[in-house]
Amino acid sequence: MSFKYVGKPIPPQDGFLKVTGTATYTFDLELPGMLYAKLVTSTVPHARIKKIDVSRALGVPGVVRVVTGKEYPYRVGMYAGDRDLLAIDKVNWVGHPVAAVIAETLEAAEKAIDLVDVEYEELPAIFDPLEALKPDALLIHEKMEEYRHSPAFKPIPGTNIANKFTLVRGDVEKGFRESDVVLEEEFHISHVSHCYMEVQNVIAHYHLDGTVEIWTSWQNVAPVRQIMALSLGIPHNKIIVRIPYVGGGFGGKAGLGWEALVAILSKAAGHRPVKLVLSRKEQFSTAAVREGFHAFAKAGFKKDGTFNAYSVRFILDAGAYADYTVNVGRAVGYSADGCYEIPNINVESLTVYTNKIPTTALRGFGYPESHWVLEQIIDRAAKKLGIDPSEIRRKNLVKPGHSHTCTGERLREDAGDPQKVLKTLVDEIGWGKPSENPPEPWKVRAKGLSLFVKGPAQPPNAAASAILKFNEDASIDLLIATGNFGQGTVTALMQIVAEEFGLPLEKVRVDYVRDTHKSAYTWQTVGSRGLFTDGIAILKAIEDAKNQIFTVASEVLRCPKDQLELVDGEVRVKGKPWEKIPLQDIVMGYTYPNGNSIGGPVIGRGVFMSTHTTYLDPDTGQGNPTIFHTFGGTAVELELDLLTGEINILKAVEVLDLGKVINPLLVKQQTHGGLIMGTSISLYEEIKFDERGWVVNPNFTSYYLVRIKDLPREVVARYIETPQLDGPYGARGIGELTMIGVAPAIANAIYNSIGVKLDRLPMNPEYVWRALREQRPDLVEEAWKRFSKYEKIVEVTI
């Protein structure tokens, strides 16, 4: 089947405005009479607030009001419901907002925050989640039982556990007894920031009539409205959330941001619009980041490589608020088995409060964490068993149509082709073929593999919808709420609409503003779900619109509906292309020569609702958590400097079974983008804390992001198209997946070649240098000899 738009490398629809600097972001917006807010944040990690004196701040010319938490003691949140707008009586981390200054200018607000005097009564602080789990540990959330949490989670009041996820399948103890090799390993990951270009910023206008208008740099409109409505008690239709162009999200702008707070500030400031813009510093100390992570794993294998038993305990260092991270903890838990069939498995995943920066989703949502553990275990087992890492994977891979995942879900027949993913990966990296020797003999070259699988981590009832509206010239307004923060989903969705109606792509428009009032509902654009869920809704809306068009055309052309087709913007009778009506003569209603008219403006509507997903059993974690699984793999060939610990990726291969590539250009960009982000997080990114809980590198001069010089020299991207029959054109999601395999592939390359275990991220030069010295002093010694050996004896005159 050949398509005009689907499968074609069409440039992103918003690219032109973005590269010309004319796209409008929330950051660019100013409203008449707008005020500026600035947060006063805590300087201590854990304390009761004894007193807040705002009198000096109010003396700054231009300051309108200073708001403190006690005045508006709301609890807000998506899943755990544990967040306050401003600290109510206790601060829980260094950077916790305790007050907000509202002023006529940003300068005045920034001057005034230094003059808000807060008196703290310090409490002992907990920075280590393992300490937080001790029975006598101080409670960070003393009133956890009062929080309104989603039914999918199990907070444990009286502890620091925000969610306990448990999964039991088979008999893991018996599994270990029947294994020939049992490994026990530990893994760790540091906190990282999303580092999107546009900092979090919000404008809220709480009108006198009770309507709340929000403009925000966020991923999705629906959860902002939903959480604000539930926690502030405002009817949904009185909250209008608008999102224009967004400068990146990566999960860090999912759920709710500062919108509820800024709305309250607008009300407090006499119903004038208020804008809050975070600084990059605040992105690193006050906004939520990705959690710290620890894993304690035990794995049993049979002699032939069969993965027989797996028991793993994940501890997520969620920081002061775990609102979204409880779901990350759940996703880490139920993705523990990756793409392997493991008959006996026990998982405990604890999302734990500490007195550190709050945490949230970040591209991959727990899957990078679970795969960091599992994919290294596979290689370590392979080495012990003397089996090739690609062979042990081949042996244990799930079989769609037969295998069950660790949640007991039977993989559908059309879930993808993991064996083909593996084979393509192995072929493209030249697995088994030794690398060339590096020119410098104190370096080594090595290859490593990692497979991965991911589906969206969403509630079972997360719906989507689409409205498609024709204009007089048969152009289309597609009203969708699909988040548009750089992924390319919207372009792909527009291609589908143009394809289905046989219209030029220019005839399809999606407005750049997402709007709860005007866009059709979608739960969220997260978890790589947008193309799949919103695409299905759009296809149904197209079908609905076509049905309306054919109904009218059938009367006019005096021909049964099923004999009609849409080609090049015309309704034609099949086999008699000269019997036709142009679309523009139908989409506003058809008018006969005498003026009689039938039909009317065409509006198509469609929905997506997953019917087979479930909550997971609270004791066993069994159920169907997701709507699709995308299989993929990453392979790298790298060069390691044994003297400095530097890792240089020479070649990276990404293979994904996407079902159908709707836009090869944008898929390639997603793949490259994921590899870049994956490389950055694998090798360098890390939020560092000192003993007071202060973030010591809250800026891009000391928090390093990869530069062009740090990137793989060569990237190979290959896509397999095993259609998922209920997906749009057979497609599955991709957005997050391309970074999941990078870290384990790098670590595996090094382990396979020289046996050095790298257990923690990031694998920065100093960490790798230490690991090399501790685990392979012989190699380091040899490398040093080679490095310090001069070619010739040169004599000089002295």
């Binding site: 300087t43 590198n697 891009f700 390093y704 010739k792 004896i793």
Partner: protein
């Protein structure tokens, strides 16, 4: 009080843009501690945004013609004015051919956009321990020309930088130029930095040797390892007193990594830095003496 310095705006100040050095010096003499001199502004504006500095007056010296000069005179050396940008230095033929360590430091210093604004003199005056600019200058025994309304003085860069963000400059003084002595044709210099996974270097080395066949003069200056650039005098001695230079390079590297002051900070530990010092020394000296 809030955590960190979360500001998006600058503190208020009066902006001055004098057209002559005399006018600039008079303004500075008038406002003294209340004023800061701005060349490229790369350091100053960042410091102001962080509220580490909040001058009431900013004196922008970019419009002063005599400070824009970069000029080489045989027998005298190279003069680089206070507002000459890193890009201009990088493109200068004499710098590239003769002052190789400086050229390499500037080239590796930052991205092109910053180099179009940043100045070498500004880089010295910031005195942030991690910056690259001062390191080769100390290796060349470069001096600064410092002026006030009633005085002109010269001072070696090595003495001018006293510690982190601490320099020998009176409130009414402007650093007008840096002077690099002319180099004998046989002199060799190289700069190298280690900054993998870090915006700032974890360690740098600028080495100057005159000459590689008959070493009489050797200077090894390490940057980004301590609170200010440090010299390895004992290691230099090894270079000057060993006939077998191939071996001396290794010995000097071992010595340098032990003798100099090295600190731990957010970027790296002392251990790792000492190790990098050793590697940098071998890398740089092996190239200078062509020991392979």
């Amino acid at each position: 009080m809030s955590f960190g310095a979360p500001y998006l705006t600058l503190p208020e100040f009066t902006y001055h843009k004098p057209k002559s050095l005399k006018e600039a010096l008079q303004l500075l003499n008038e406002f003294r501690d209340e004023a800061k001199v701005m060349a490229g502004g790369v350091g100053l504006i960042a410091f102001m945004k962080e509220r580490l500095l909040a001058p009431n007056h900013v004196i922008d010296i970019k419009d002063i013609p005599e400070l824009k000069i970069i000029e080489y005179r045989k027998g005298e050396g190279l003069k680089i004015g206070a507002t000459v940008t890193m890009s201009e230095i990088e493109k200068h033929d004499i710098v590239r051919e003769k002052y190789v360590a400086l050229h390499q430091a500037v080239k590796a210093g930052s991205d092109p956009i910053i180099k179009n604004r940043a100045t070498l003199v500004g880089n010295i005056c910031e005195a942030i321990p991690w910056v690259d600019g001062p390191v080769p200058l100390i290796a060349y025994n470069a001096e600064l020309e410092i002026m006030s309304v009633d005085n002109v003085r010269r001072m070696p860069v090595s003495e001018f930088i006293k510690g982190p963000v601490e320099i020998s400059l009176e409130p009414n003084e402007i650093v007008t130029s840096v002077y690099l002595p002319d180099l004998p044709p046989e002199a060799k210099s190289l700069f190298m930095k280690f900054n993998t996974g870090s915006e700032f270097a974890l360690a740098t080395l600028a080495a100057y040797v005159n000459d590689s066949k008959k070493p009489r003069d050797a200077r090894l200056v390490y940057g980004a390892v301590s609170t200010k650039p440090v010299r390895a005098y004992e290691a230099e001695k090894i270079i000057l007193t060993n006939k077998n230079i191939s071996e001396a390079v290794i010995l000097a590297a071992e010595k340098a990594s032990k003798e100099i002051d090295v600190i731990s900070d957010v970027l790296a530990t002392e251990d790792y830095r000492r190790h990098l010092v050793k590697l940098l020394t071998i890398n740089v000296l092996s190239r200078i003496f062509e020991v392979g």
